[in-house]
């Protein structure tokens, strides 16, 4: 693993920038272009770049399977939970007006929450799919042996 020195150094430099940019897209999506879907795929692209260069095994060590698998569901639950929370507060399903005293503030809060949920689900979904496709070929340890 000592080859690809340039790739590894460049990837290490780029990775924090990609992740930071994805967070910017996520939380600035109200004002500029972007939102949960876009931020999710950019975030996933960062980890996919990492796995491409350092190997899926190393990628799984950084972001273990149990974490991504549960986060996919957590993102969807955040979304649906926001809807249920608005119902509990007396509105319709996904009616954000009731989340705060001012309807516009409630809308902003609700949109931010569900975009966050979308971002979590999409990013982890992409990471899982790529890791599974790319990690299928290489034997990662004992459990996959027939």
């Amino acid at each position: 693993m000592t080859e690809h020195l340039v790739l590894r150094v460049v990837a290490k430099l780029l990775l924090p920038l990609i992740l930071l940019f994805s967070l910017y897209v996520q939380f600035h999506g109200d004002f500029g272009p972007g939102g949960g879907f876009q931020a999710g795929v950019i975030f996933a692209a960062g980890f996919i770049l990492y796995a491409l260069i350092f190997g899926v095994r190393q990628g799984r060590r950084v972001l273990p399977g149990w974490l991504t698998h549960s986060l996919v569901a957590v993102g969807l639950l955040i979304y649906a939970g926001t809807g249920l929370a608005t119902m509990a507060l007396g509105g319709n399903f996904l009616d954000y007006n009731v989340l705060a005293h001012d309807p516009a503030h409630g809308q902003e809060l609700g949109i931010m929450l569900i975009e966050f949920g979308v971002g979590i689900t999409v990013s982890n979904a992409m990471i899982i799919i790529i890791y599974m496709f790319a990690g299928r070929g290489e034997h990662d340890g004992e459990p996959d042996r027939e």
Binding site: Q38, Q107, I129, E146
Partner: protein, 156 residues
């Protein structure tokens, strides 16, 4: 490779047409992730395909008819940016006028996506979730111990 290039070019096209949100997604998913996915799928499967079609005329005919139908379908479409287009005068003016005071979110795309079409987006997220579950079921199951299968599940 060509698919990745095509996605990148169409991402540029979306930017030109002021659909920056779509361009974002296209550049990241189309050019980046799906190219990686394609390559890793190629690495999994065999490189050569079997010749299955005896004649090439039938596939060519099918492709030609489908393409002709699609092009015929676009003939009725209004011109891009035409004010008479249905997309520009059904609910769009209302979104543009009212979404900022009602939701407090300056990006109309976000407010339509997340607030006016909240159910839609919930459904889309569910689709993504379902896709992942499908991939996990197909590819990701780790067999416990193949030589000692449990009662309920067997590794076929």
């Amino acid at each position: 490779m060509l698919g990745g290039l095509y996605s990148f070019v169409s991402a540029g096209l979306f930017v030109v047409m002021n659909a920056v949100d779509v361009a974002f997604t296209e550049a990241a998913v189309g050019a980046g992730i799906s190219t990686v996915l394609m390559l890793s799928t190629l690495a999994l499967t065999s490189r050569r395909s079997r010749r299955s079609f005896r004649t090439r005329a039938l596939p060519l005919l099918v492709v030609f008819i489908t393409g002709a139908t699609l092009i015929y379908g676009t003939l009725d479409m209004p011109y891009y940016g035409s004010p008479a287009a249905p997309a520009n005068h059904h609910v769009a003016p209302r979104y543009l006028r009212e979404s900022v005071p009602r939701t407090g979110v300056p990006n109309v795309v976000t407010s339509v996506l997340a607030s006016y079409r909240g159910y839609d987006t919930l459904g889309e997220t569910t689709v993504v979730f379902t896709a992942v579950v499908g991939v996990m079921v197909l590819l990701g199951v780790r067999r416990r111990r193949p030589n000692r299968p449990r009662d309920g599940e067997d590794g076929a």
